[in-house]
Assembly symmetry: C2
Homo-oligomer: 201 residues x 2
């Protein structure tokens, strides 16, 4: 039952953000009474926190795995951007909900941990690259935070091409070529920022 409620919540968030995941919508989707929902989760915030915890495990682990399969900092960064971007562009509403959607202060604390988990991965990657001499010395936690910010803003934030297309009622970013161009641009930005070397894919 607990799993069913979580699955319904995640589906609703994926469709229409945390805003769309009302208690009644979740209960209906999971085919349970709202009372049953509250027996498993003391509050909607507690349920949303669980969604964040799972996402932190799943999404962040995917990026960590993509990095592990590569050796140079450049290739690791490209793999991380590719992995994060493809998942974000496949489920943009979910990506936006996790990264940026305003919810409530309790959920914001979970979001902080979610963003921090990405930053931690980048910080390790940068630390290893500095130690091996592959990239110049830099303030690793600042570079890591800046990478998270750059990826979040350009891919899922309100200024990102996918969202701007949506807001401006322009044609959406649908073609595979558009998406590849977007991902490559962000990968290049991130690699250049950290390595200080011109990079063309």
């Amino acid at each position: 039952m607990r799993v069913k409620i979580l699955r319904s919540t995640r589906n609703l968030v994926q469709q229409s953000g945390f805003k769309g995941a009302t208690v009644s919508a979740i209960a209906e989707d999971a085919n349970v009474a709202t009372g049953t929902l509250y027996r498993h989760f003391p509050s909607k915030s507690a349920l949303f926190s669980e969604i964040f915890r799972t996402a932190t495990e799943i999404e962040v682990r995917k990026v960590a795995e993509a990095i592990e399969n590569n050796t140079t900092v450049t290739q690791q960064l490209i793999a991380a951007v590719n992995c994060f971007s493809k998942r974000a562009l496949t489920a943009p509403q979910l990506a936006w909900a996790l990264i940026a959607e305003p919810v409530d202060p309790i959920v914001d604390a979970d979001r902080l941990r979610y963003r921090q988990a990405y930053a931690d991965i980048f910080e390790q990657l940068i630390a290893a690259g500095m130690q091996s001499g592959e990239i110049p010395n830099q303030h690793k936690s600042i570079s890591a935070a800046a990478l998270v910010g750059a990826m979040a803003e350009s891919l899922v934030g309100p200024l990102s091409p996918p969202n701007k297309a949506n807001t401006d009622k322009k044609k959406p970013l649908v073609t595979v070529k558009d998406k590849e161009a977007l991902i490559n641009s962000i990968a290049r930005f991130c690699v250049q920022a950290v390595t200080g070397q011109e990079y063309s894919l």
Copy 2:
């Protein structure tokens, strides 16, 4: 009266974010009745929107002016980061309120325009640099969004060293040297990302 209400609101936001700027706190600070406040502004959101509009004019113009006083893309970017950072570190609560504090959907639309105004400046700067051949060709709106994200996250977001110090109850980032190191790290990240060249200050 209108100006007085706006000044009080801005002061309260600067002290404790939009959360601290309640109608009663604003009325008390401005020494007016709440009824008077509502005669000038139909809602708290309308008042906050005005705060955003003013900030968009003032803050964004400062950054635009800093850029205008420089010629190369590298120097322009450094000037922009310096200007944005110094203002953000001087009034961190205000910077956070404008860039990131969850408020309500109406205010979020104003925030989008605020962030977009910064992105527009960067986009122009990048376009000019590409045209003069000073920087490599790139997707200018993506680079611009990524710059805004990188600066916002590393300076005023929850992952930024000033805020992390606060959250982790570590010693705050107070010394001039700490602040300079932070600003230089972000400037370097941004310059390298856009120019593709190693840069040391």
